[in-house]
């Protein structure tokens, strides 16, 4: 029982971080009707901004986190939208998808060139002291990671549903033409979406890098799993990304513990195929009509 609890909580903690990254996919999809295949690298890079703050600028860890967050929001939110999304989007979603793939490669290779190919240690945000929970030694860090991730998702959902700006963002996502007629500043709403995506990616980076270690290749797996999580949960729903992320995190750990460790990497793909066959819109997603 204690082993099950241990594995379940670890899976939830990791899955919550997957969910943060998956929400990014959902947000960008809603704002620009495209898939950001550099999303994994968006999670890899902020950790290096923090390391630059600590090792190059001599800032303390917590100030470096703030520095990393601000730089991430500017570069991965504002600059990404202005320099890549805005000029390329009029040429079609596919073009933009390819551009994000190229951006992902650029970010990965830049991190390798600038900071080396070796993994770097990254300080933990919280102490790793274990606490006893129903007989299982559960890491306080895992619980806090889980709590923060879920808290952010709840706050984001409240922001989108309960505030005027949030509702304007939703209106923009649903129909930008009508939203503009109704007086919504569509460009600003889209910008907000990209800034929120960058902030979420930075948060995911700060939570997961102490365990994953800061390495240029971290985005590959993370981006893929989060993409699958977003599809499994429902690409057009934030709560879908949350469900998908948590589900993959938990199933991955349970499979590795009770079934097979060798094929754990295949599980998300099997899940993806099953969901696409049975419920193409995802577990909690909604069907979208396609204009032809």
């Amino acid at each position: 029982m204690s082993q099950f609890l241990q594995v379940l909580l670890s899976g939830l903690a990791t899955g919550a971080v997957y969910a943060l990254v998956a929400i990014g996919f959902t947000l960008v999809w809603q704002a620009a009707q495209t898939v950001n295949f550099a999303q994994g690298e968006f999670v890899m890079v902020p950790a290096f901004f923090v390391l630059i703050g600590m090792h190059w600028l001599g800032l303390s860890f917590w100030i470096s986190l703030l520095f990393g967050l601000v730089v991430s929001i500017v570069l991965l939110g504002l600059v990404f939208k202005k320099l890549i999304v805005e000029p390329i989007l009029p040429h079609g979603g596919i073009t933009l998808i390819i551009a994000t793939m190229a951006l992902g490669i650029l970010l990965k290779e830049s991190a390798k060139e600038f900071y080396g190919a070796e993994a770097q240690p990254f300080p933990a945000l919280f102490p790793g002291d274990p606490i006893n929970l129903f007989g299982a030694a559960v890491s306080l860090r895992d619980l806090l990671n889980l709590g923060i991730s879920l808290g952010v998702v709840v706050l984001l959902t409240l922001f989108l549903n309960r505030t005027r700006t949030g509702r304007c963002m939703q209106a923009t996502a649903q129909n930008p033409g009508v939203a503009e007629i109704l007086g919504v500043d569509v460009k600003r709403m889209v910008l907000y979406t990209f800034l929120i995506n960058a902030a979420l990616a930075a948060l995911a980076s700060f939570l997961i890098t102490p365990v994953y270690l800061a390495k240029f290749s971290n985005g590959e797996t993370l981006g893929l799993i989060a993409f699958i999580a977003a599809i499994v949960g429902g690409f057009n729903q934030i709560r879908g990304a949350l469900v998908g992320g948590l589900l993959i995190g938990v199933l991955d750990n349970l499979t590795a513990t009770y079934v097979t460790a060798q094929y754990r990497a295949a599980l998300p793909l099997v899940l993806l195929i099953a969901i696409i066959l049975v419920r193409p819109q995802g577990l909690v997603g909604t069907s979208e009509g396609r204009a032809v």
Partner: protein, 398 residues
């Protein structure tokens, strides 16, 4: 007239012919000029091809291997080079991809190297050593999978003992020091990990110790929660951890997070400087058998190497750095003994060769190679204490 014409014709043909000859000579001279200068250049240099994992999952090993080799090349050149010629060492990045490593070994040989220094990852070495063998080029490798010296390749030589020699050195530690009755194994599912795991299980069987849990993991795996939970649940007396550096660090972090209570014992990598740097306090208490360690400063050669490496690269050397260093120096010693760069002669000399520190100080420890290229030399048991690996015992050569 005819004769005159003929004479004229002959003269003309003679002149033209001579002119042609002059043109040919000129052309030959023009072609020969750069070739000659290249020949003169190659005649004064000896090229060693450093083929290593400079990026990808093996980068921590490969970059240290390269830096150790670089330091050795600098020292070898300061000591007069190889056969009195300056040593050059072009570097080739395998990206930790076996197929790329194979292509790069071929490229290095095409570019005129007389020996290959690398690779470190066993999966790569098993693929690329065939190329060096086909070209009769000596190859010093940092790989430790048993299979490397079991393929009858007379041109491949280790720079540290293989797992089939290193892992058995741990048996007395499990049996007599830890007095373990049941143990677990956590290993990375690649050529290196599989080789070590198989030898360990066979050794434990011989020693009458039960292996009650066997946990494989994938290369570049990031989440070890399930692996550690399984080990914790099985509750062995000790766990043998056999993974590459980054994986070892992530495993140790998770083990500390889940308060894994039993001793964690590894072979070589578990107490490497890079692992300690990455795992931080989580590495505290980890134990490993290491073929050679930069912390064995009671050995004068190792102390001098560690000092020089730290001054040059501003960081502590790892086990892989020492292996790269030994690889280059071994090449120099053996080529100087043979008196030429011929691979076949080199291979003959290596069979059963022993290099003593008294005569060859940069070999660091008295070292022998058997007929298969397997290495034998004294080794150490170390434990991480206060953030550094500390020697807790010596193991005689086996």
């Amino acid at each position: 007239m005819k004769r005159h014409r003929n004479r004229f014709s002959v003269d003309w043909e003679d002149k033209v012919g001579r002119s042609k000859n002059y043109s040919g000579l000129l052309l030959a001279a023009l072609i020969a000029l750069p070739v000659g200068s290249v020949s003169a250049q190659t005649a004064n240099t000896v090229k060693l091809g450093m083929v290593g994992e400079l990026s990808g999952a093996g980068a921590p090993s490969g970059t240290n291997w390269r830096d150790g080799a670089r330091l050795a090349v600098t020292e070898v050149n300061a000591a007069g080079g190889i056969l009195g010629k300056k040593v050059e060492m072009p570097e080739y990045d395998t990206q930790t991809d076996p197929q790329v490593s194979r292509a790069l070994v071929q490229k290095a040989i095409d570019e005129g190297v007389v020996a290959i220094i690398g690779t470190v990852y066993s999966g790569s070495t098993l693929v690329n050593m065939l190329v060096a063998k086909q070209n009769s080029i000596p190859q010093f490798v940092g790989s430790e999978a048993p299979t490397i010296v079991e393929r009858g390749n007379p041109f491949v030589y280790r720079t540290s003992s293989g797992a089939q020699k290193g892992v058995p050195a741990l048996t007395p530690y499990f049996k007599d020091t830890l007095k373990a009755k049941k143990v677990g194994v956590a290993w990375v599912n690649n050529e290196f990990g599989r080789g070590g795991r198989n030898v360990f299980i066979a050794e434990m069987k011989k020693a009458g110790i039960d292996v009650i849990i066997d946990v494989p993991s994938e290369q570049a795996q990031t989440d070890y929660a399930a692996d550690v939970a399984k080990l914790k649940s099985a509750n062995p007396d000790a766990v043998f951890v056999y993974m590459n550096q980054e994986e070892s660090a992530r495993f140790l972090i998770e083990a500390k997070k889940q308060t894994l209570p039993m001793p964690l014992v590894g072979e070589v990598t578990l107490t490497e400087a890079k692992v300690i740097e990455l795992a931080g306090p989580a590495a505290e208490g980890a134990i490993a058998h290491v073929g050679v360690t930069a912390t064995a400063t009671e050995v004068p050669g190792i102390a001098a190497f560690a000092k020089s490496f730290e001054e040059t690269f501003k960081r502590k050397p790892t086990h892989d750095a020492i292996k790269g260093y030994v690889g280059v120096w071994s090449t120099k010693y053996v080529m100087d003994m043979v008196g030429k760069t011929d691979g076949e002669a080199f291979s003959k000399k290596m069979k059963g060769l022993c290099l003593k520190v008294a005569d060859h100080p940069k070999i660091l420890l008295d070292t022998c190679w058997d007929d298969r290229g397997e290495m034998s030399r004294p080794s150490f048991m170390v434990q991480v204490k206060g953030g550094s690996p500390v020697v807790i015992g010596a193991v005689p050569a086996n």
